[in-house]
Assembly symmetry: C3
Homo-oligomer: 678 residues x 3
């Protein structure tokens, strides 16, 4: 479990008493108790308070804060305060300020505002992390160390440019290798000196969000930028670890956050934590997928839900209230997908600046007589009852979806064949086919071990990095079912095309050759015409966006196109490979097609749902020590009944209501326990 | 009246003979006479002509112009020529050039191009105003002094940054006070030195039009920028006044122009003047509202319509012709709302540059045989007949709508709860309910005296400045009816939330507590379900955008929500307060609801329309010395008949057509006079 | 013909073996042979390879390349490699880097990246052209010299600013003349020193794509920018000619490419070449028009189709495949309109960077067993059969459409009356009326000789340059039919309005006076009501966008408006002028109206289609030595039959299939020959 000091699901969140007077703080402590809150994340944005100038540090306020919380039974998640540099630092050392993609030197302001390659920033952020570690290393209140906050953004300053060249030298060793990787002979961009290389920005090779002349260069910049921030994180991490070797260190991630390769980051984190901010119109399946990604980057380990809002956000276009029950529902959804904490941003709502309309446990009115507080306190009480029951339980899955940041960057930086292709949308489409049936899915990276899975899905596996094709062949050879789609197997890790016929390194495994890929206008559609029934799958389905024109080389054709000059050509193929099968879906099919096909391949492998539930009711399972915990999450605005089919269960939150048929209220959550053998 | 020299509605407009040769000018003088034109605004953009270098000034051309006009019976509105600096000045003193919000130093070009804190600009603009005053102080042609032109825009240069710090020191005295006002402890932005403060721009705290991290800082920048330009105006004003103490000085405003706080500006202006440029699709009620604002900022004093186009504009996307009759109709609409002049931009149409397709009295064809000229001349003739009849008459109103620039800025810089909320739209919605019934409205500021009104409407009174709540309580206590809406009473003058429960300082007056505010997606609607009939108001109405969830604390509930989890909660309340009533409308209701409710509250106070008229026919009233002037303005494309109900009238423009029933032609205007006692 | 060395339609395209190894190059040579390819454009982007630093040049690779191609029977179109400067040059001489319209100095990257007024760029681009000329002057493989590539873009650096002032001094001689031309007295922009003039950019007079405060200045910048690039071209041209006097020199143009005045460029080019990239949804009539423009800028001379894609593009939003047959169809469409070459970008598809998804003859798979290769080879074979049959044949037309870059720039930089007016759209509307009937059209410039035409159409002839009105009067006087439209005759060459009544210099010819021009909102429409039938034209037609309100001065009224306050005013007039007629269309009519009217005026002059064909089947004619070549191009997805009406023909590509009725397959092309007398 995260901390033996607090053997339960942590319940609390960000707390910024530096914005308030002492009396308010005392009231807060009472209210926290009332709400069952037992952890507070503090010191997130206090750098200017901690270090008022270059020489002096003042932590007395923090001592008092941590002590007063601890005396009230509240543990501390201690942030390092480096998420926004002080104004004096920006004035004295402008190198801490970023230069944006348009080449504009920023002035002091905002957050995520420090250049990751600023010598000043690196020096002082490490220094303060070190001082915090020294000061609080023995404090019994500290359960987690929280480095910076929501790393993100990018920088194009001269320091970054120089650091990029160093990063490139390390990667490529020689300019020849670099010139080859980037294909610089195209447009005569050959570099004869490392110092001729400039950052790819809106002033050089890029324009807008995802347009570049040189994909290889831009891809390396994305890697470099992610690595630069990771180095900043690592410097603070090391500073803490050198003082507190057993510190549990994290930084809060943001789900599908494109700029940072979280698979790489996860390796340097003791525990994953993340901030979950769905909107009123975010599909619940998308939230579920994001949780699974956050679990997947650290091999299935339980993670921290570091932030969610008790009700409203402020930065969306339309910041709706969370309907009654939804905060609890989405909290348990997080737990169902692997969270071992439920934490909020924030505990008390700010009175000024841009987040003053962001929801909080304690609203501006300042007392507990609010719907939001009551819902928070009710959940707090429930979590105290649960104790350590769920902690450290894990999710078992036979299905893996492959996700890769490099692939994401590369697909969306591509010039052609279509601007309509969005990687995460494709991942979500396939994920949803399992989610809707309560089949749990692991999201895995290209370095992950696949041997425990029956089914591996890799939508739009455009980039096949060294070794991946072998691993997928091995997986299939051994009996696994592999599924991939159109626009796969096109390039290697530098975005250079795998010559000799698409899908390149996957060609043998899939038993096909893709000759051409048609890009359809948004108004155009084609059809997937099934050659035979596959389970529920029969007849015609719509497809569009991209249509591969392929020839089989050993694979079996299961469906063909219904229209256009490639009418009759294969659109769905299956290749027997060793003991397994490799499927190829040549176009972007409609939801019913994907759902039907995924059901077919899952059925083939005997993969069963956690439970069959009515539409809109999610069922998830966590497992520990021969016991399973089944979560029934009713996302509907009406109650629903779930049949348990002879499963003998205990209703953990409501022991009096059990039986073979469980009614889950509108937006309600039920947790059942039962014996389990996998 | 504006000038005893010209005791009638001034008729004329901008004239730029420096673009033309002498012969054209002589032709113009003839045509002006033919059109009944008696005033010309000159010297608006002649700085480069007046001052060809740093040392020399040349006004001889202006002498001749003013004289030749005067000899033709045309008075002068004399501009100071500082609305665009000369090219030589930009080259020699780059400090006159602005830096834009993206940090880009401008080059010479455009107009509104001078940095308001440029020492060079301030020195030379004052100097030329002074020289003009000296030269023309005794000239009998001058009736109005016109400082610069349409002040606007903003600047982010180093001079402005330094001036901002000085402005802040004056406002806050201490950094502690400033840090508190801006809540800088949020995100650790604490300032330890005034010089650490940078302007809020796209390089620091802001992005786009209305997004900022620190509302308090951005609000202060808006105030500072408005004040900086006001100082420039004031410098020229003082330069003129010190030479010509009885000069009548103005600068032309632009109605709902967001960057400048015209209530503050009006205090420094001898008379208000403004430029009215509705498009073909601008609601006539919106134009009426803008006139009322321009009258309201100077306590109801008559104002100058300084500019309108005789027909077309050039800067709109689609520059439609004014249909026959519309120029006259909209001219009289201005007069009906308080204008004592009717002036055009411009008298002769330019041959080159960006305004060459802007309409003018004299078109490119150069003669009088055009529809536009004929309509202009007909109105000129009519105005001569009217003489001083209408001058100095005033509008009497029992209804005030509160408008506040600070509130405008603050609402639209807010991060959350919705991007759909636009302050002026809300003002217009409530205004229209009165406009459509011919009930005249004063638009007043938060410093205005409210004691003369029966009804005060303050839509979205988000910011309640010190003293305002007391004033509104006093107003209601004494028997007035006060109406406000959702998202009111939230913050104080620094955009810091009024803690302890919304609507903050208005809570006692309104007798309610707003617990939460839901923001609806654009596709979502709720209903206002009336608990009882209120006049014509009964049954259900649509509402949306924002929905306050409120609890009454003494107020009576008159309608409740029809949908969502807050179905049944109050959406319309009325609180008896002293001798008066305070109403609260908790959501954005549809037009029929607002119309019905405003009729109900007006009826309660016995507030009567000027006249009942058919739809699309506006009726307005001005009053002087026991006489009333009733304007019937038919905005329809068909004739309409207005019943006068025993009112004994004189038809001022068409004495032969009178009676108890007046037919107003399509797009026609009628002015009636009758005895009056208020 | 282009070259006596290769007396046939050149077949080949861009080839970049510097991106490939030697073995691949050898395979390419085999594949080229297989595909009937006989020309390769090389050295387009090889500057960095040719000149690795400031001192050294290395052309050995190019020697080998040209030789190996030549040994395989492939001629060379030799580019000068200056289309993108080397990275080392950007680093050492930043003056080669452009400054963009926002004032941002570019860093190294992209192509079209050299400042046209950079001394370094001019020096080294001339130097390398010179060295190439010296090295290859006697090489038998070279058939065409290709300077740079697709000139375009703009620059706003200090070097350009200084050069602009020099350009202006040359044009205007005195500042007085310039101040008058630009009407700088408007907004007081009078210049007293040439050095006060700054470039019109987003930092001075412009914003966005087509907005400016001073049209005259912006228009001159457009001319200057086009001229600056033309000077760069000319420097390389002269460098080659001084060494190789009989060199055939071109640069590849881009059809309706707004930044460059191709009529002016054409004068400096030995042969026109251009790159044709229609999308799946580009109207075929638009492609036809672009070909006719490219033929028209050089007085009807045959041109080179320098680039087209064999199948896909990469830079469009949706890069569809060219359907089977379409590549051949569009190739022959080019020939039908005057092309004497069919060339591709490119011969082998790149493996990396932004064009790797741009189609090529040899796809990534690297062999010939692809649909694209087969279609390419089939056409190659066909072209060998055709030999020199078609070469140097010309198009004869009795109809000219006037096109003018200055007019294009001026119309779209106009502030008012509507943003909806797009010049090329209007040109295309009128062109299409002839295209759909297989009446061939010449696109001519304002300097062209019109005497050979029966019919001259000048849609939206907004700018009438000196001498043009006289020429049009002369043309009509002599019996020609002249047609123009709304918003014509408004300004002269400096965008100064022709005073005294629109349409200015065209007023006499057209016999009308336009008093006003109404701009309609996008939702508004009016009607053209025919006063009498004109051929098929009768009844009512829709019109909109702009509506001129005009009075006849001798012209006959043939149709009137059906709506609005100008209902009944003329909308279509015809003025008899000498032996001819001048027509005026006062509003933007619907397609059926334009089609009917153009048919009527063509019928009047006895202008006949090449052939009558079913809808979607284009018929074109080229003529040489008493023989005509008729192209039947079926753009439909179904076969169509064309009746030849007693014409005795030879089917050139399929001699066995001939007769009086020719079936053209879906997307098929047929070329017939027959005797001809014009």
């Amino acid at each position: 479990m995260i901390s033996s000091k607090l053997p339960k699901i942590f319940y609390g969140g960000d707390y910024n008493p530096e914005q308030w007077d002492q009396q308010t703080h005392q009231e807060d402590l009472q209210l926290f108790k009332q709400a069952g809150i037992d952890i507070a994340t503090v010191n997130v944005f206090s750098w200017a308070r901690n270090q008022p100038d270059e020489v002096h540090y003042q932590f007395e306020w923090l001592d008092e804060l941590i002590n007063s919380l601890y005396e009230s039974g509240i543990y501390t998640c201690l942030a390092t305060s480096t998420a926004a540099h002080p104004a004096w630092m920006a004035k004295k050392y402008p190198d801490v300020l970023r230069t944006d993609k348009d080449g504009r030197k920023r002035k002091f302001g905002g957050r995520h505002n420090s250049c990751p390659n600023s010598p000043t920033y690196r020096k002082y952020s490490t220094e303060i992390a070190s001082r915090l570690a020294e000061r609080y290393k023995d404090h019994p209140a500290i359960v987690v160390w929280h480095v910076s906050n929501e790393y993100g953004g990018d920088c194009y300053c001269d320091n970054c440019e120089r650091a990029f060249r160093v990063w490139l030298k390390t990667r490529y060793q020689t300019l020849d290798a670099l010139n080859t990787a980037w294909n610089t002979s195209f447009w005569g961009h050959t570099f004869y000196d490392w110092d001729e290389i400039v950052l790819p920005s809106n002033l050089s090779e890029e324009w807008g969000d995802d347009n570049t002349n040189f994909q290889g260069m831009s891809l390396d910049y994305s890697r470099f930028n992610s690595d630069s921030m990771l180095e900043c994180y690592q410097l603070e991490y090391d500073a803490i670890k050198s003082v507190v070797p057993d510190a549990l260190i994290t930084t809060n991630l943001m789900g599908f956050f494109k700029p940072l390769d979280y698979f790489k980051w996860a390796k340097q984190m003791d525990i994953i934590s993340w901030d979950n901010y769905p909107g009123l119109d975010t599909p619940v399946s998308y939230t579920a997928l994001a949780h699974d990604l956050m679990r997947g980057i650290k091999n299935g380990d339980p993670f921290m839900l570091m932030e969610q809002t008790p009700s409203q956000q402020n930065w969306q276009a339309y910041n709706s209230l969370k309907r009654p029950g939804v905060m609890r529902l989405w909290s348990y959804q997080a737990v169902a997908h692997g969270a071992d904490t439920i934490m909020f941003f924030q505990l008390r709502r700010s009175a000024g600046a841009c987040e003053k309309f962001h929801g909080a446990v304690i609203e501006h009115v300042g007392h507990s007589n609010t719907r939001v507080f009551r819902e928070t306190a009710a959940l707090g009480s429930e979590l105290q009852t649960l104790g350590d029951t769920l902690l450290d339980s894990r999710i078992e899955s036979k299905v893996a979806i492959l996700f890769d940041w490099d692939n994401w960057w590369a697909i969306e930086k591509s010039s052609g064949p279509t601007i309509a292709l969005k990687y995460v949308d494709q991942i979500h489409k396939y994920y949803k086919a399992f989610y809707n049936r309560n089949i749990q899915v692991d999201v895995v990276g290209v370095d992950s071990d696949l041997s425990a899975y029956e089914l591996v899905i890799a939508p739009v596996l455009y980039m096949v990095k060294p070794g991946l094709a072998d691993k997928l062949e091995q997986f299939t050879q051994n009996g696994g079912t592999f599924v991939t789609t159109f626009f796969s197997g096109i390039v290697g890790e530098s975005d250079l095309v795998a010559l000799g016929g698409y899908p390149g390194e996957l060609r043998k495994l899939l038993g096909i050759w893709v000759e051409e890929t048609d890009a359809l206008l948004p108004t155009m559609r084609n059809q997937i015409v099934m050659n035979q029934s596959l389970g529920d799958l029969s007849g015609d389905y719509e497809c569009g966006m991209l249509c591969d024109l392929l020839h089989t080389e050993g694979a079996e054709v299961l469906a063909h196109y219904g229209d256009d000059f490639y009418k009759g050509m294969p659109v769905l193929t299956r290749n027997t490979y060793g003991k397994g099968e490799a499927w190829y879906i040549a176009s972007d099919g409609e939801e019913a097609f994907i759902a039907g096909l995924m059901k077919f391949v899952a059925d083939q492998k005997g993969i069963q749902p956690v439970l069959d539930t009515p539409a809109g009711v999610e069922a998830g399972r966590r497992v520990k020590n021969g016991e399973q915990f089944i979560f029934l999450l009713n996302h509907n605005a009406e109650a629903a009944t779930v049949e348990l089919n002879d499963l003998q269960v205990t209703n953990l939150l409501d022991p009096d209501h059990t039986g073979q048929s469980i009614e889950v209220p509108a937006r309600g959550s039920v947790i059942l326990s039962a014996p389990y053998s996998s």
